[in-house]
Every structure is written in C-alpha cells, then in structure tokens.
C-alpha cells in the first residue's frame, strides 16, 4: 500500500516536476521551512528570493532530496521523497542538476573531468559525449583552455561555470541553482541566469535561489518570496496569462 502512495506519475506527466504541499522541514530541533507550498513545472523558471537565512538553501535541499519533510507532502519528479528508499532517491537525483552555493569538486581533476563525471557514472562513452561537453563548456561561457586546467587553478566565477556545466551535462529534468551568481559582477550574474533560463527551452524546469531580486528581469521568470521559512508566490500570472505570454 505504501508503495502505491510513493509515486504520482500522473502529476509528473502533467508537467509538474516538484510540488511541495504544506511542508515543514528543518535540522535537529530547528524548523526552518514552515507550511511551504511550492511548485516547479516543466519549461518554467522559478526564482526564489529572500533575505539571508530565510530558508532558501533548505528549500533547495528539500528539492534535491537531502532534507526530509517533517510534515506535508513533497513530490519530486513524481516521487514522494518521504516514502521512497535510498536507491530510488539516488535514481531521482540523477535526473536533477544541482548547482550548490559552494560546489564541491575533485580538485586535482581538470574542469572537463569534473563536468563529465555524471556522464561516466551513467555509463556514457567518451566518444559519445566529448563534442557535446565541449559545446556545453562554450554555452556556460567557460574558456576551453580553462576546461583543461585542474579545478584548484580556476577562479571563483570559472568554478561556478563548471558547476553549472556539470549540472547540465546529464540533461536533467529539474535544475536547481543555489545562489549561482554569488561573487559575480551583476552583468556576469545576469549572463549566468540567462544560461540557466535557456534550459527551459529544452523542457527542463529551473529553480534559482538568490537574494538578488533583479535577476527576475533576465527573462520570463516566476518569482517566489521566502521569508522566515514561508514561501509565497509574487505576481504569478494566471494560467491564461502564462499561455498568452508563451
């Protein structure tokens, strides 16, 4: 019976990549997210803004399956994450591209090797992905010479681009970016957000968390506001308006 409730494939097929309904979550005794209702859909870009320590990163952890809901229901790519096992969670994570606030890399590997790691894990052969990955390196704005350098030699902005390329390499259904413009100039930050937003064109859903509300000007982006662990939509168009915009 539990297994029947673990998946909602119908919701996923209707384009809902993530749906949080009345979700509470936190760490230890602290509750960081309270009664969160949130949705990310295929082909949409969502920007979650809020002050420091409002719960943006916790929301990202919830969406990338490293934080369990204490109350409510969290459906990610059709799976109820509180009910599925570790193996299924791992399977779902392979369909999520995640750009962490402080991305972790294998420092002595080159940027290219770090980018292709998820592809190697999926069993892809080098001759099948090499060209695509070089295009991806161009797409995220990383100089091709830099992609051959060891990670420890790259600047902060270059490392962030590598993190984005690694997240996009697997052609994920859902892309999560936690403060992807941190430490970048406003122009550079906007370029990065546009790169991420471009992924909506290939059918992915994108969720970006940032303190910078001006990033919403980078394209057709749905805004969400998070404060003290509560998430609320900001000026969301009606479905009819959205379709008209499309």
């Amino acid at each position: 019976m539990a297994r029947q409730n673990s998946f909602d494939t119908d919701l996923f097929e209707r384009g809902v990549l993530a749906r949080l309904s009345g979700v509470d979550a936190g760490y230890g005794a602290a509750t960081v997210l309270r009664g969160v209702d949130f949705e990310a859909r295929k082909g949409e870009v969502a920007l979650v803004t809020g002050p420091e320590a409002a719960g943006k990163t916790s929301l990202m952890h919830l969406l990338r399956l490293t934080l369990a809901p204490r109350a409510g229901r969290a459906l990610i790519l059709g799976a109820d994450i509180a009910r599925v096992g570790a193996r299924t969670r791992a399977k779902i994570k392979r369909r999520i591209g995640y750009v962490a606030e402080n991305p972790v890399f294998v420092e002595h590997w080159s940027a290219f090797e770090n980018i292709v790691l998820p592809l190697k894990m999926a069993g892809a052969r080098a001759r099948d992905y090499t060209l695509d990955v070089h295009e991806l390196v161009d797409f995220v704005g990383l100089a091709s010479a830099a992609s051959d350098l060891a990670m420890e030699k790259l600047s902060g902005a270059e490392r962030r681009r590598v993190a984005i390329a690694r997240a996009l390499a697997i052609k994920p259904d859902l892309i999560l970016a936690d403060d992807p413009t941190a430490g970048m100039s406003p122009a550079e930050g906007r370029r990065i957000v546009r790169v991420l937003a471009e992924m909506r064109r290939v059918g992915a859903g994108v969720v970006i968390a940032s303190q910078d509300e001006s990033l919403a000007e980078c394209g057709p982006i749905l805004r969400w506001r998070i404060e003290r662990g509560r998430v609320s939509p900001v000026d969301h168009p009606t479905r009819a308006e959205a379709e008209a915009l499309e």
Partner: protein, 279 residues
Amino acid sequence: MKNALTGVERALFWTLVFAAFAAAAAGLAARAVDRLAAERQASLTQYAIVRVVAPDAPAGTAAAMAALNRAAHVEQATPMSAARAAQLLGGAVPPGEIPAIQLIELTLEPDAPGDVGDSLEAALAEGGVTGEVTLAPPEADALAARLRLAAVWGAALFAAVMALIISLAARGLAARRRELVTVMADCGATQAQAAGRIADEATLLGLYAGLVGGLLAGAAGLAVLLIAIPGVDVDALRTMILPIDLAPIAAAPLGAAIAAGAGARAAAGFFHGQAARLG
C-alpha cells in the same frame, strides 16, 4: 589510479607494502618453524631402541640386526656405538669408558602402529633373540606439536593484525577521496557505486603493495637461507623449498587487496551515507 601514487598516496602505498611484507615474512617464518618442528616430531615418534638380552654380543647383536631388518615397519636399524652412546649421554662419560653395550637404534616407518614394540619383540624371538623394545613415549612429540600449532596460529594472528593495519590505512585513501564520494552522491550515485569506485582503487593499490611486499619477503627469506646454510646452491634450494612454502608470498597480494578494498569500501560507504543522507 590518476595521481594515485603522489604525496600521501605514496606514503600509504609503502605502509601497505610494509604490512604485506611483515605478514608474508611471518608466514615464511612460521613455515620454517613448522617444517623444523615436523622433522623433530618425526625423529622422536619414529624412534625406538632395542636392548638385546640374549644371546650375548656380538652374536646377539648380529642375530638381532638380521631379525630387525626382516621385520615390518623398520626403516633402518643401527647398532649403537660407544661414541653414539657418549653423544646421547651428552659427553658426561668419555666413549672409552663406556662398557660394551647391546643396543640397536631403530628408525620406524611413519605409519608404524602404536603397538609396534610387541611385533618387533616377536620378530626378534623368531630370529632366536631375546630383546626389549623401548618406544618413544606418546608425549615425546608434544612440544614439537605445540610449536607447530603456535607457529600456525601466531602467523595467522600476525597476518590478521597486518590486514587490519592495511584496512585502516586504506580508510585514509577513502578519506582522501571524500570529495569524489560527495560529488558522486550529489550526482545520484548509490552507496554501492560510490564505495565501489573507491574500493576498486584501494584494491588495486593493495594488490600492487602486496605483490611488492610478498616479493621482498621472499627475497629476505632466501637471503636468510643462504646465510643459515653455508654452501647451499640453487639446485639444493630448489629441492628444499616446497610449493606450499611459497603460500605466504602468494597470499600477500590477495590478502592486501582484500583488506585494502574492504577498508576503503567501508569508509567510502560511510562518507556517502553522510553526503546523501535525508536530513
């Protein structure tokens, strides 16, 4: 194995080599002790002395020798000389002062039964000789048996300790690869995938280290033999060293690989669990 033998990994590799060397050397030493003890055990349990009561020497000794050479379970019969008797007495009595003795030393076949004394006395009687057969007491080989047991278990215990050291050192390798485990967990690798990758690397490192350690132990053993047995040549060594004596050298790479793989797998699994936990 990219950059596997740089910096800390090189030190780790030599730690594994040392542990594998020590385990293999202990195994070789145990084999040597076992073989020496086995020889001693055989010499004690396959030994008997015949005292010829009648007829008197030298006719008695000659008749007894003839009867014993025909008897079953006797490998060799040698009349005891005064010099040999003096040697057995530890030089307490000079050979010249030892009176005429009618003793015959026997080497029995390995499969001689425990009551072989009775059949030997019957064989002597058939040859017209009255004699007393004294067999080695059953506890004569107890020390050698205990020594053999101690050698086997001592080497096994030492090898287990070395395997533990290798396993713990391999955990260090997994700690060095923690970032890779974290990235793999982030990208959706299962615990088996992430731990397996690190374990494969550690297994390979353990295999190479075990191979080097085992060969070094073999070389050291050979050097000890050359020093301990003056004038020994290669042909003699070839006949002296049994295939089973090489078991510790063969086991070193295998044991080191298994211990290193298991240690790294456990640590990487733990790191993956931390990275992928549903907090």
